[in-house]
């Protein structure tokens, strides 16, 4: 037997996310307006969003910025060859840079030996490269490749 109460709660969460994932109403009382559309109270909308944030299902309730449009044109994926035993130490150092927006360890293959990925956003390539230089100095790592995006074929936020 499935817990129907639990399922019902999840259904409303999914309905809520689906309703607002293209954008919240930009009004004085957005949560009240969402509630009215979904037939739930403003309080319930707020509580559900709080829980979704607390549980990590929603990372943030925030603006997705068209970074290119505001002049943040450079987007460098810098991949590093890091000895397994140093991954934790350098991952933390890299993540500490404001311009590093993503930092992940990923698997290697015989023809792909770079295991730490950093995404760096900046106003110019030079700004990205200055960050890479600073990472090199702080970590002592020198085996890396910078991959700039030459063309954006697709970029959309994750939807459910």
């Amino acid at each position: 037997m499935t817990n129907t109460k639990e399922n019902c709660k999840e259904d409303i969460d999914v309905k809520l996310i689906k309703y607002i994932q293209e954008g919240l109403p930009i009004t004085k009382t957005p949560y009240k307006d969402i509630g009215q559309a979904l037939g739930i109270s403003e309080e319930e909308v707020i509580q559900r969003l709080q829980k979704l944030l607390d549980s990590g299902k929603v990372r943030r309730l925030a603006a997705s910025i068209a970074h290119r449009k505001i002049g943040i044109d450079a987007n460098a994926m810098c991949v590093w060859k890091v000895p397994k035993e140093r991954v934790d130490e350098v991952g933390i150092i890299m993540a500490d840079f404001e311009e590093v927006t993503h930092c992940y360890e990923r698997p290697t293959y015989p023809d792909w030996e770079y295991n730490v990925f950093t995404m760096i956003h900046g106003y110019t390539d030079a700004e990205c490269e200055a960050v890479i230089q600073a990472i090199r100095e702080k970590t002592g790592l020198n085996d890396y490749v910078i991959l700039y995006s030459e063309k954006e074929f697709k970029k959309v936020g994750v939807r459910i």
Binding site: E22, R60, A63, S64, V145, S149, K151, F153, K155, G157
Partner: protein, 155 residues
Amino acid sequence: MILHDTDRKILHRLQSNLPLVPRPFLELSRELNIDEDTIIERIKFMIENGFVRRLAPIINTQAMGREATLAAIKVPEDRIEEVSEIINKYSGVSHNYLRKGRNTNIPYNVWFTMSAKDDEELHRLLKEIEDKTGLTVRSMPTVKKFKIGVRFKIY
């Protein structure tokens, strides 16, 4: 079109959570010292003019029970358009870029992220792309996450 300082201030703040209170923009107005009506009007302007894609929940794919990966393919120069079109058709693909190594030549040039309802489905879709293109797809899922949180320095 250039954004003025008020817009930049608002934009910077909007990258962090919108307050979960009945009048969130009123709360922002106190934080930023800009009145509520102006904040609302400027946000609408920035959405309509494409500076802000959306003000919405940013979903954690994995926490929602989905599986995701970063995948890379070595695509011959003359097939890039064709292959990227095949990849873009999948709704689980959120990013797809042509990338070139700056300081070193690297063979992997098309990079995309894909999510699916579970691991099995994810692998099935990647295999389908391999079959359709005749190219090997390298899946590089996250082993460890050190940072995720795209907040841009706005100045």
